[in-house]
Amino acid sequence: MAKNQTKIKPLQGLAVSPGIAIGKAYIHIQFRPDFSEQTIPKDWVEEELKRFNKATESLLEQFQGLKKRKDADTEAVSILKAQSLILKDPELCALIENLVSKNKYALEYAIFQGFQTYIDKFEATANANLIERIPDLIEIRDRLALILHGQDSQYELPDECILVAKDYSIHDLIKYSSRIKALVLEKGGFTSHLAIIAHSLGIPAVFGVKEARERIANGEAIAVDAANGFIWSKPNAAILDQLKKQDESDKKQQIFLEYVLNQPSITRCGKSFELMANTELFEEYQGLKKVNCNRIGLLRTETILIQNPENHLPLRQFNYYKQFLADGSITSITIRLFDAGGDKIISNYTSQERNPYLGWRGIRFLLGQEKLLRQQLYAVCKLSGIYPGRIKIMIPMVSQVEEVLAFKKHLSEVQSELENNNVTFDRDIPIGLMIEVPAAVLMSSELAKHVDFFSIGTNDLTQYTMAADRGNDLVSDLYQQTNPAVWKLIKYTADSAKNAALPISVCGELAANPAAAAAMLGLGITKLSMMPAAIPKVKNLLLNRTFSSMVKLANDIIHCSSNTDVERLLKDFREKCD
C-alpha cells in the first residue's frame, strides 16, 4: 500500500510564490453574480439608481479599508487606487445609469452591459497594457454585484486553510491573508496581479492547476510544495517527512542568512568592509533588497544598447537609470559606461573584427562613437543633479592616460551644455576607471592622478594577463582567476591606489569567492562588488575571520608559484577557523 502511494503523482501547476504548506484544503466556491437579461417597470428606476449609488459607495469604502490594512503593501495599494478610480469613472457611471433609466435594464444587467462596453473597447485596441487591465474591470463588476446581492463578501474562511479555487480576488487575499496558508488556483499566470500580491504577502501559491477543485476534496489533507509547483493530495508519511525536512532546512537557511545580513560589516577583529552588488537589469533589484544591499558597485549598461539599438536617447537612458534610485533605498550607484565590443556585439555599431577582445571595445569604442558617449554622459550627469552624491561614473577598458584625458574633455563639454540648458548636475560626480588591462595596472600611479577611484575588473584582467579566452575550450584551463600573476597585478593596483590615497574596489567574479574576497581585504581593498546572491556567503566568511589572517593569506598568495597552490590556500582558509 505504502509503496503504491509514493508513486501517486502530484498535481502540478505554475510555481508563482515559493514555500511549503501542509494543511486542509478549503474549496472556495465563488459567488456567481446573476447578470441575466432583466428589465424593470418604470417606477423602479429611482430605486435601482439609489441601489447603484449605495453599492458604489460601499465598495469605495471597502477599498479605503483595505488600503489602510497594515498587510496591504505598496503593490496592493497602487492596484486598489487604480480600481477606485475606475469605480468613480463618470462615463461608466453615466452609462450604467442611462441603461437603467432609459433602457429600463435591471441594475445588475445594466452593470454587466456597462462594464462589457469597456471590456470590448479594451479588447478592440489589441493593446497588451489595456488587455491586462480587463481582470480589474471584471473584479470590480463582480464585487458590485456581490454587494447588491447582499453578501458583501463577508464569507468566513477557516483558519490555516489551503485555499483551492478557480480564481481568487486580490481584495480577499489581502483581507484573509492571515488565514490562508497557501493558494492553489486553476487560473492565473506568473505576472498576474494576484501572483505579485501573493508573493509580496509571502503566501505560497501555485496557479494554473487544471481541475484543482475536482481533484482535491474539501477538507482533505494536502501538501503544497510551491517552490516546485507540486500539490500532493492525501500525502503519505514519506512525502510529508521529505517536505517537512525541506521546509525546516529552508527556514534554517533563511534565519541564518537574515542573521548574517543583519550583522554590521566588520571582520572578527573589527575592521570594516563594504559589500556592493553588480547588477544589470531592473528585474534584479528585488534580489538586492533580499540581501540588504543598498549600494550598486557596478551597473552594466550595455543592455540598453542591445535591447534597443535604435532608442537609447538620453531621456530613455535617464529613466532607465533613475528607476534604480527612485525608491530612495540605493545610496550609491556606479554606472559603467557602455562596454560594447568583445563578446557583446551590438549590430548597429560594432563591426566584425578578427580579434574582438583585443579590438574596438570599452572606452576605445566610446571615443569613436562620440554621440553615443555624450548622450550617455548627458543622461547620467542630469540624473546626478537629482541625486547628488549618489552617482559615480566608471570608464571601461582604459589602457592609457590619453583615453582618460579625451574622455574628460567630452565630459566637460557635456557639462557646459547642461549648464547652458539650465540643467543642474553634480559638479563633483566621481569618475573612476575599470582596471582590467595589464597596461592600466602598470600605469596605475599615473592614471590615479586623473581620476577619483579605481575598480578592478578581475574577469578581463585574468583574460588579458593569462592571454587566454575563457570561451575557447582549447585554452580555457589557462583562464585562472586565482593565478598568482593576477594576484600580483591586484596587489600592484591596490598599492598604487594606497599611495595616491585613491578609493579602490573590486567588481569581478573573483570577489564572489569568499576566501578570495578575504585575501582582497588583506591587500587593503575593503570595497567589493559582486552578484547579489553571493553576498551572504562572502559576508559570513569575512565576519568570522580576523583581518590579520586575511593579510597573511594575501601575503602567502602573492608568494605562491602556481594556481594550484593558491587554490589550496583559499580552500584551507575557508575551511579552517583562525
Binding site: 487604480a82 475606475i86 536617447l313 529613466n319
Partner: protein, 95 residues
C-alpha cells in the same frame, strides 16, 4: 470653448499612471474637459475613456475645455503633458 494641441512626450505613453494623474487633475475643474485623437473624443475625467486612447509617445491630441474655468484648466493640463506627467526629467537634448 477653448482648445489647444498637446503632445505626449513621456516614453511609456498614456499608460495607467499618467492616465490617473490626468484624470485627477481634469476632475478638479468645473469645466468639461475632452481629449480628441484623430476624431476619437473622450471625457478627460474618465479613466476608462482616457485609457482607451492608448496614446503612445509622440501622439498629438486636441485638448478642449468648456466652462467657467476652461482657460486655467487647459493651461494646467497642458503643463502636465509638457512635463511628461512628471514620469521623467530628461529632454530631447543631443538627440
Amino acid at each position: 470653448m477653448a482648445s489647444v494641441i498637446v503632445k505626449i512626450i513621456n516614453p511609456a505613453g498614456l499608460h495607467a499612471r499618467p492616465s490617473a494623474s490626468l484624470v485627477k487633475l481634469s476632475s478638479s475643474f468645473k469645466s468639461k474637459v475632452f481629449l480628441d485623437q484623430d476624431g476619437y473624443k473622450v471625457n478627460a475625467k474618465s479613466i476608462l475613456g482616457v485609457m482607451t486612447l492608448a496614446a503612445e509617445q509622440g501622439s498629438e491630441l486636441t485638448l478642449s475645455a468648456i466652462g467657467e474655468d476652461e482657460e486655467v484648466a487647459l493651461q494646467k493640463i497642458k503643463t502636465l503633458f509638457d512635463a511628461g506627467f512628471y514620469e521623467m526629467e530628461g529632454d530631447n537634448q543631443l538627440n
